[in-house]
């Protein structure tokens, strides 16, 4: 029968609608309002997983996010998701779930033999066993362990869903929407504070969801909160971390409850919340008691069994045995009985219990001063052995559900993230949040307050205080639920473990037993942090939320000290697991970083530019309609420049506007050479050093007026150079009258280069005489092309006669096309980054590979650019002995002796004297095929380089077994006299 454990009535599920789902291929049904766990229980499914180490059968232990055992794989294909807690997975129609960590099937799991050899798998087993031989770890042990212990499996396909991040600010953040949370949010909201109320569940209400008599109040609170514009309700949102400066992280499961996210909606959204004040109304989780075989499917926290009955209308068993050390167990027992579950007995470790008489009035057997010493049944509980704590009276009770009420752990996790110390409460035998460190306060059960009415009052008080601390002091009163007198006394007897033979688990997810903790203690791991790491206790994805304290208590007993003294291991984010998608947000794939496009980007696309990412920029490498690869298109473009004329997009160069009466002085201090003497309307090549004397950047800087310069930088260093200038101006030379700003984006800039460059430009430039005398090398002038304002700079990177044409970005395409049109008779072609590189290497201009932060001006042959008079950044450091040592590698040219492209040179090749020599004299920095000399050539940094000009060396590249004979020469392979640029 379908849903055989579903109660006829009650709960918050919608029985009028049926949802179909499968678990391990079996078809089941549930209802809206179910979790996967409640639906599985409704269908009588007990066994839902195998444990991590011993592969023991495991069932559902809790009804919330603290679940240690019921970890399942959700969905299939690209959307499959491992290690999901069935207790928080909202049921939807068509959900596919599978069990994990079992082979070949859940019922018959071969690795469960680990359970029989368990005594050979003690704590620290891996540390002790897989030590030797060392080489076996990577190849044998680790893969073996991973296969055996692996929980779920990740999808191999890319995630088809989208994730995003969002920032939120509020006066008061309330975490948790139980009675305390609702009241806190209402109080703060009514005071006018901006409030965010985050609830991990899909229904707001927390413990109120189990209390039909308070349903009207819950609804009225939610209606009132929805009506306040500055209150934001975030259901399905887990606050996972409390960070410095009152920043909290939360993950909203926007579409996890749907088969596929709706159109234009994300799967999950990660919130970064900056809260002025935070109220932590996170409630408490019930904790278990350690006793032999306390992990059998059917052993459940008493509150969880009550939740399944009251909220989900499901009987977690037919005949329940309740094992308690406090009155909470009685409340659960009564709830189960009211739901029609037979209660076989209440086993109470105490000798006196307030609820005992009421239980007996209900016909329930109560055994005071007793304990459970064993659980019967393998894949499902069939009964328990009990005995008197005084010894004797051992007997067996039949039952298929063992409910454990071991006391309550207030959810102190977020408070602990702030480094607020924990405070021991002897009555509750639990840790409570201590004195706040950040702007937070705990309220309700999280602060050790029990009962709906008391929690609501405590929450309202906390909400008011938080609002007041945020500056909102006038709140409006609202109704709170009346105390109903039926609340159980939360006091517990500090009873943690039944001393009897068998595996008594303290950590169900990592399979840690009480004996493991004692073993850690015997072996010297007596500090809780050491015992935790040695045994892996409370290190699983549930972070020991149910049983962490149990481990501390067992260790305390072994040490002969109090639990308070032993303490808890430090809680750190994340309170609950968060998916990678939530962290990546939108920054996945090509959205990892924004794309920076030049003003000519779309022209390049339309004209077959093949792009390369250079930093954030996309730049055309070369142009090819047939998408050729290899050198052909590069050589074609470079030859066009050497023989005729080419045009290249150089908009990526950094451009900095510098103005002020002291602009010239400022530049003189920045550059190794002088700019204050530069004539208006002229450009000059400049070299900049870092403070440590190494070359920082280079480029041409032009003087536009007496008080205004335009600096160009390399593409890579544009932002760094501007920051360098701003730093120096603000901190070192504030007295200088100078102002700087970037104008990189203002201009589209193109280099027109080649012996026919002037001819081509003369066909389109208006308002400027381009004759060599009127507009010589290093001239700067304004003109118009196609009606657009342009500025021409007669500078050259290729070594050919060249002009850089700058125009406001929005006119870039128009000017570029006008030049192409005008240059048609000269055979103009566009050229890309590869040809640009080829040409500059041939010419011997340095770029990134030479300006690598480890070269000095002298290394690069720029010593004459170091002005004799006047200081400049880097001057002193550049004169340190090591930086002027004659042994430093210096820049030279190298070219293959063989005049062909047969044997290639490579960047990074080492220069040696004999082909088989291991003594490197230096290395090749930049290498290219040459269109000018029709062979491989390049630039190199070689010890005593300039003295070796004329020598023959060997460029060796051992990784590819290549040795090429080269001649050392001037770096200027093309036109060393620099005549062409002045033609």
């Amino acid at each position: 029968m379908s849903q055989r454990n579903r109660l006829a009535s009650g709960g918050r599920i919608d029985r009028s609608r049926t949802l179909k789902f499968t678990f391990d291929g079996h078809a089941f049904e549930g209802h809206p309002g179910d979790t996967l766990a409640s639906a599985l229980i409704a269908n009588g499914e007990r066994l839902v997983g195998r444990s991590f180490k011993y592969h023991r059968p495991r069932g559902i232990v809790t009804s919330g996010p603290e679940e240690p055992c019921a970890l399942v794989q959700l969905r299939a294909g690209a959307r499959q998701e491992p290690n999901t807690r069935a207790t928080v997975a909202e049921l939807f129609d068509g959900l596919v779930a599978t069990s994990q960590n079992r082979w070949p099937s859940l019922a018959v799991d071969i690795a469960s033999i680990n359970s029989l050899v368990g005594r050979f798998l003690p704590a620290g087993f891996y540390y002790k066993t897989f030590m030797w031989p060392a080489s076996f770890w990577e190849k044998v042990y680790e893969p073996l362990i991973r296969r055996a212990a692996g929980l779920g499996k990740a999808a191999m396909e890319p995630d088809p869903d989208e994730y995003e991040t969002v920032h939120a600010h509020c006066d008061v953040l309330v975490v948790g929407s139980g009675a305390a949370g609702l009241a806190a949010a209402r109080a703060a909201g009514a005071a006018g504070a901006r409030v965010i109320l985050a609830e991990q569940d899909f229904e707001m209400g927390g413990g109120l969801l189990l209390e039909p008599q308070h349903e009207a109040w819950r609804r009225s609170m939610l209606e009132a909160l929805s009506a306040i514009p500055d209150v934001r309700l975030l259901p399905r949102t887990s606050v996972f971390g409390f960070y410095e400066h009152d920043v909290l992280g939360a993950i909203e499961r926007v579409s996890d409850h749907l088969p596929v996210p709706p159109d234009h909606q994300v799967r999950q959204r990660r919130w970064t919340i900056r809260a002025r004040q935070t109220v932590l109304a996170t409630g408490a989780t019930e904790r278990p008691i350690a006793f032999p075989n306390n992990d059998r499917p059917g052993v459940m926290l008493a509150s969880a069994a009550m939740t399944y009955a009251r909220r989900f209308g499901v009987a977690a068993g037919e005949r329940a045995i309740v094992f308690a050390n406090n009155d909470g167990g009685y409340e659960s027992a009564f709830a189960l009985q009211d739901a029609g579950v037979a209660v076989a007995a209440i086993i109470d470790v105490r000798n006196k219990a307030k609820g005992a008489d009421a239980a007996r009035d209900r016909g329930i057997v109560v055994r005071l001063g007793s304990e459970v010493t064993n659980v019967h049944g393998g894949r499902s509980v069939s009964g328990a052995t009990i005995r008197s704590r005084n010894g004797g009276g051992e007997r067996t009770i039949d039952g298929d559900l063992l409910c454990v009420a071991g006391g309550w752990n207030p959810a102190v996790y977020l408070a602990s993230h702030t480094r607020a110390r924990l405070r021991w409460d002897g009555g509750l035998s639990a840790f409570l949040p201590g004195t706040p460190v950040q702007a937070e306060r705990s309220a309700g059960t999280a602060a050790g307050v029990f009962g709906i009415a008391r929690c609501a009052a405590d929450g309202a008080k906390a909400g008011l205080e938080a609002a007041s601390a945020a500056g909102f002091r006038d709140s409006k009163a609202f109704d709170l639920p009346a105390p109903d007198g039926g609340d159980a006394d939360p006091k517990v007897e500090a009873f943690w473990e039944v001393k009897a033979k068998g595996k008594s688990f303290v950590d169900l997810q990592n399979d840690v037993t009480a004996d493991d903790i004692r073993l850690a203690h015997r072996e010297g791991y007596t500090h809780i942090e050491h015992a935790k790491r040695y045994t892996t206790h409370s290190m699983a994805t549930d972070q020991g939320r149910t049983s962490g304290l149990l481990g501390s208590a067992v260790l305390a007993e072994a040490r002969g000290e109090t639990v308070q003294k032993v303490g808890m291991p430090t809680y750190r984010p994340y309170v609950t697991p968060v998916s990678w998608g939530g962290f990546a947000g939108r920054e996945a794939g090509h959205h990892l970083a924004p794309v920076r496009r030049t003003p000519l980007h779309h022209w390049h696309i339309r004209n077959h530019g093949i792009f390369l990412e250079t930093g954030l920029w996309l730049r055309p490498l070369y142009y090819s309609a047939t998408r050729e690869t290899g050198w052909d298109p590069i050589l074609r473009e470079a030859r066009a420049v050497r023989q005729n004329v080419g045009i290249c997009d150089v908009s990526t160069l950094g451009k900095i506007d510098i103005q002020g009466r002291d602009a010239g002085t400022f530049l003189d201090r920045l550059y190794t050479n002088t700019f204050s003497t530069l004539a208006v309307g002229k450009a000059r090549y400049g070299l900049m050093l870092r403070e440590d004397g190494m070359v920082f950047d280079d480029g041409t800087t032009s003087r536009l007026s007496e008080t205004r310069y335009l600096m160009t930088t390399t593409t890579a260093k544009a932002a760094e150079v501007l920051a360098h200038m701003e730093f120096l101006h603000q901190t070192v030379w504030p007295e200088l009258d100078v102002r700087t700003c970037t104008v990189t984006d203002q201009w589209a800039q193109m280099s027109v280069a080649g012996p026919k460059a002037r001819l081509a430009l003369q066909g389109c430039v208006e308002g400027l005489d381009l004759g060599n005398e009127a507009f010589p090398f290093m001239g700067v002038g304004d003109a118009r092309i196609a009606g657009c304002p342009v500025r021409l700079y007669r500078v050259s990177f290729s070594g050919e006669m060249a002009y850089e044409v700058a125009t406001p970005a929005g006119y870039g395409e128009r000017v570029w096309e006008a030049i192409l049109e005008a240059g048609k008779p000269q055979g103009i072609v566009p050229y890309g980054l590869e040809a640009l590189g080829l040409l500059r290497i041939e010419k011997g201009h340095v770029a990134g590979p030479e300006l690598n932060g480890q070269t000095t001006a002298k290394d690069l042959g720029f010593e004459k650019m170091m002005k004799k008079k006047g200081d400049f950044i880097g001057r002193v450091s550049a004169e340190r002995p090591a930086l002027v040592s004659p042994d430093r590698p210096r820049l030279v040219g190298i070219r293959a002796v063989d005049p062909s492209f047969e044997k290639r040179l490579r960047g990074g090749a080492h220069l040696v004297e004999k082909p088989d020599s291991k003594k490197s004299l230096g290395w090749a920095t930049s290498i290219t095929r040459s269109v000018e000399l029709e062979r491989w050539l390049g630039l190199a940094m070689i010890r005593q380089g300039p003295e070796r000009i004329g020598q023959r060396l060997y460029a060796t590249y051992p990784l590819k077994n290549e040795v090429v004979e080269v001649e050392i020469c001037s770096p200027h392979h093309v036109d060393p006299e620099n005549l062409r640029v002045r033609a």
């Binding site: 920032h167 234009h264 939108r586 920054e587 003003p599 954030l616 103005q659 002020g660 984006d745 118009r784």
Partner: protein
């Protein structure tokens, strides 16, 4: 001589139309056709700058908005002057000659772009990338903040309760819209004509 029409920095795909989720009130985005000039006063140059700009120069975190013109504080003694688009370069020339030597005037009309974002959900879309608190109490109309959104430097100016002008680096204009399309998709968005 006036220059020809310029290409939009937002690229060829930024054309009028409705995208993303349907219904509700979409976020609208449109390029603003403006001139933008960066004004940087030297020591003691604030008065000259104010007189050249012809209005009160706003302090840190503020923008002075008058109709479709605005002056936005972007740095100590530094502002962006934004006016409806007129003759190419004219605004920069006028301001430079009016302000004199103590003020640096730099034309950024092509170096920056301005995107107008409006609708009740405009702030919610921005919050997906901006850490700035855009709530009316923290950021009333006339507020301005320069921040980083998806690694891009963006100056956010609040024009009215549901309207923002975003000043973007010209070369990142397309990339910013790429990001904004994703951020606004759940609300639906409408690209309007440049204005």
């Amino acid at each position: 001589m006036s220059a020809p029409e310029r290409l939009s920095p937002f690229g060829p795909e930024f054309t009028p139309g409705r995208h993303g989720a349907s219904g509700g009130s979409p976020v609208t985005l449109a390029e603003r056709k403006v001139d933008i000039v960066q004004v940087m006063a030297g020591r003691g140059g604030d008065a000259a700058a104010a007189s050249a700009v012809g209005s009160v120069l706003p302090g840190p975190g503020k923008a002075e908005i008058a109709g479709s013109s605005m002056t936005v504080w972007i740095q100590p003694s530094g502002w962006l002057v934004i006016r409806p688009r007129a003759e190419e370069g004219a605004l920069a020339r006028t301001l430079a000659s009016a302000a004199g030597d103590s003020v640096a005037v730099v034309d950024q009309g092509h170096g920056r772009s301005v995107l107008r974002l409006s609708g009740p959900k405009a702030g919610d879309a921005l919050a997906k990338g901006s850490r700035v608190d855009l709530h009316a109490r923290a950021f009333p109309p006339g507020s301005a903040a320069t921040t980083s959104i998806d690694h891009m430097t963006v100056t956010i100016v609040k024009v009215d309760a549901s309207t923002f002008d975003l000043v973007l680096p010209g070369n990142f204009s397309e990339a910013f819209v790429d990001w904004l399309r994703m951020a606004a998709a759940e609300f639906g968005y409408e690209i309007g004509r440049p204005a």
